[in-house]
């Protein structure tokens, strides 16, 4: 199917919002219950494409815990007071 620019923007934008919203949901769940639900992690996983090695329950549980860890870390970073002028070190060059 050939998409025009308007259709592409609409689809990509909707996808971005959806993934962002699911991640927000993961953060909210963690704040409320101390856990991120398997359903939320599965939605995030499916948004990545293939489930790869995370179809099995044992591996999936490791992934769920890893997501919880990142949610915890994210909260630590987001609470760090940053000057609004601070730029990200996205091009890291010392020379």
């Amino acid at each position: 199917m050939q998409l025009d620019r308007r259709q592409f923007t609409k689809i990509a934008g909707a996808g971005g919002i959806a993934i962002g919203a699911v991640w927000q949901q993961a953060c909210a769940q963690f704040t409320e219950t101390g856990e991120v639900s398997p359903e939320t992690v599965r939605t995030l996983l499916d948004a990545q494409g293939s489930r790869s090695i995370y179809d099995g329950s044992e591996e999936f549980e490791k992934l769920r815990r890893a997501v919880e860890n990142l949610v915890r870390v994210r909260s630590e970073l987001r609470s760090f007071p940053l000057d609004e002028d601070e730029q990200p070190l996205t091009v890291f060059r010392r020379g």
Binding site: K62, L63, V67, L70, E76, L77, D83, P88, R94, G95
Partner: protein
């Protein structure tokens, strides 16, 4: 003092032997190969899950490149006989961490997935060392995909202790006299931590100083490649050969490094002492060893001044940046299912990489903004001094245990309480995040006879300053000349 056994000689001593014709490169290479085959090869194939059945062998080498080494040594000898010495490293056998590509010699990244991977190109560092006339002898063991503390390489000072990671094969072999010198890599401590565990001298260069072309990436914005030797001076000679601009690595800096071997006059130089980290050593004996090392600097006329870095979320920064970058780098392994072949102990790490891919980009950018602030703060603090110093690791190497496939560094009785650790900024993590160079040098032994080490950190591109402090210290002390005795202590 009796003459040092040739396999324990420093780079300069080995070069003197070769230049004087006291030994040929082929003889030297054969000697190291014989030692490696006698002392290093375990009764199992590498790369491997961490195991306990080493039968006293160190397992520092994934691949011994015997034929390649002898051919290179013959070439080096021919040139030496013709009066051509390419560099001080000419004819000296070395080992390189097995994540740098070597044409025609397998490069496994420490993983069973790449057990048979044979590149058709050299990493930039390998080409530089070939140009310098050095003799590639072995690919050194590491934790799978440069994982910390998960290598098969044992600690020659005591076989039941960890050699940390991830450049553990390189540092253990250097200290055990199995190679002339080595090359390691570091993302968050992978040269200096294992160097500390085994008493090697190891240098993490400034980010961008050494080209990473042909090296497995773990984190584009954090990876560095650096030298490992038996003295600070060794590290200077090696860095001079491997540094320099390379258009194939976008982070490569156009800054040459011309090593000044000294002797450095340290009188009046200022060394900032990161005092809070010295408090992490809970053993009186260890605290005394570190203090005596600082006293040695003071006796050389160095001005010591206590400093402290601000407490910043360095752990959270590493987790965010490394999982996002590694998750992207290793994505193909997950997409085609090869990730299922990762070693058992790495399952949690793999899950972290996958989770890193799910994280919104805004969180990655937030981490890089905090890192930028940290860079300015650290640059400012370090710039007030010629260098700053802290224990590389607050204790000697912990027990190495293998449980359910995991090589667990057992917590020893001197480990600081979690609360104290969490409240203490660590110079190593800050320096890695901001790209500062750091030199680990041995400075004594703990109660169990395990090496202790100090890390000297300098401003960006001021490797000469940290090497000057290291060479000055090693001129006044002999900790770097202590050797583990074979048979290795059980």
């Amino acid at each position: 003092m009796a003459q040092e056994a040739i396999h324990f000689m420093t780079v300069r001593e080995l070069a003197d032997q070769l230049t004087a014709g006291a030994v040929s490169s082929v003889e030297l290479t054969q000697h190291y190969l014989d030692r490696a085959e006698e002392l290093d090869i375990p009764p199992f194939e590498l790369p491997s899950e961490p195991r306990l059945d080493h039968e006293g062998k160190l397992a520092t080498m994934v691949t011994i490149a015997r034929e390649h080494a002898i051919e290179s040594a013959e070439r080096a000898d021919t040139e030496l006989r013709a009066g051509r010495r390419r560099s001080i490293l000419h004819g000296i056998p070395y080992g390189v961490k097995d994540l740098l590509d070597t044409a025609g010699i397998r490069t496994t990244w420490g993983s069973g997935i790449f057990r048979d991977r044979v590149p058709d190109r050299n990493a930039a560092v390998i080409d530089s060392l070939e140009e310098a006339g050095a003799v590639l002898m072995a690919k050194m063991s590491l934790g799978e995909f440069a994982g910390g503390n998960t290598s098969s390489a044992l600690n020659p000072w005591k076989l039941d202790r960890t050699s940390f990671g991830s450049s553990s094969g390189t540092v253990s072999a250097a200290v055990a006299g199995l190679i002339g010198f080595g090359i390691g890599t570091e993302t968050g401590g992978s040269i200096v931590f294992p160097a500390s565990a085994v008493g090697a001298s190891g240098l993490r260069p400034t980010f961008g100083r050494v080209s990473r072309f042909g090296c497995m990436p773990l984190s584009w914005s954090l990876d560095k490649i650096g030298p490992v030797g038996r003295s600070a001076e060794d590290c200077g000679y090696i860095l001079e050969q491997i540094s320099g601009y390379d258009a194939r690595d976008d982070s490569s800096a156009n800054r040459s490094f011309n090593f000044q071997v000294g002797p450095p006059d340290l009188r009046g130089k200022k060394l900032g002492v990161h005092r809070p980290e010295f408090g992490l050593s809970q053993s009186e004996h260890t605290g005394r060893v570190f203090q005596e090392a600082l006293d040695a600097f003071a006796n050389m006329g160095v001005i010591l001044e206590d400093i402290s870095f601000p407490l910043r979320p360095t752990g959270a920064l590493f987790t965010t940046i490394v999982t996002a970058e590694s998750g992207t780098i290793f994505r193909p392994l997950f997409d085609d299912g090869r990730a299922a072949g990762m070693f058992t102990f790495n399952a949690d790490r793999a899950a972290g990489w996958m989770a890193g891919r799910m994280m919104p980009v805004a969180d990655y950018l937030t981490a890089q903004r905090i890192r930028n602030q940290l860079r300015r703060e650290a640059d400012e603090i370090v710039s007030r001094y010629d260098a700053v110093i802290a224990p590389t690791w607050p204790n000697g190497a912990a027990l190495r245990e293998v449980s359910q496939g995991w090589p667990i560094p057992a917590r020893n009785e001197w480990e600081p309480p979690d609360e104290l650790s969490a409240q203490t900024p660590r110079l190593n993590y800050i320096a890695n995040l901001v790209g500062h160079p750091g030199l680990a040098i041995p400075c004594g032994f703990d109660e169990d006879g395990l090496p202790l080490s100090l890390q000297i950190v300098g401003s960006a591109f001021d490797e000469q300053a940290v090497l000057d402090f290291g060479m000055g210290f090693q001129r006044e002390t002999d900790w770097h000349l202590r050797r583990p005795q074979y048979p290795w202590r059980e």
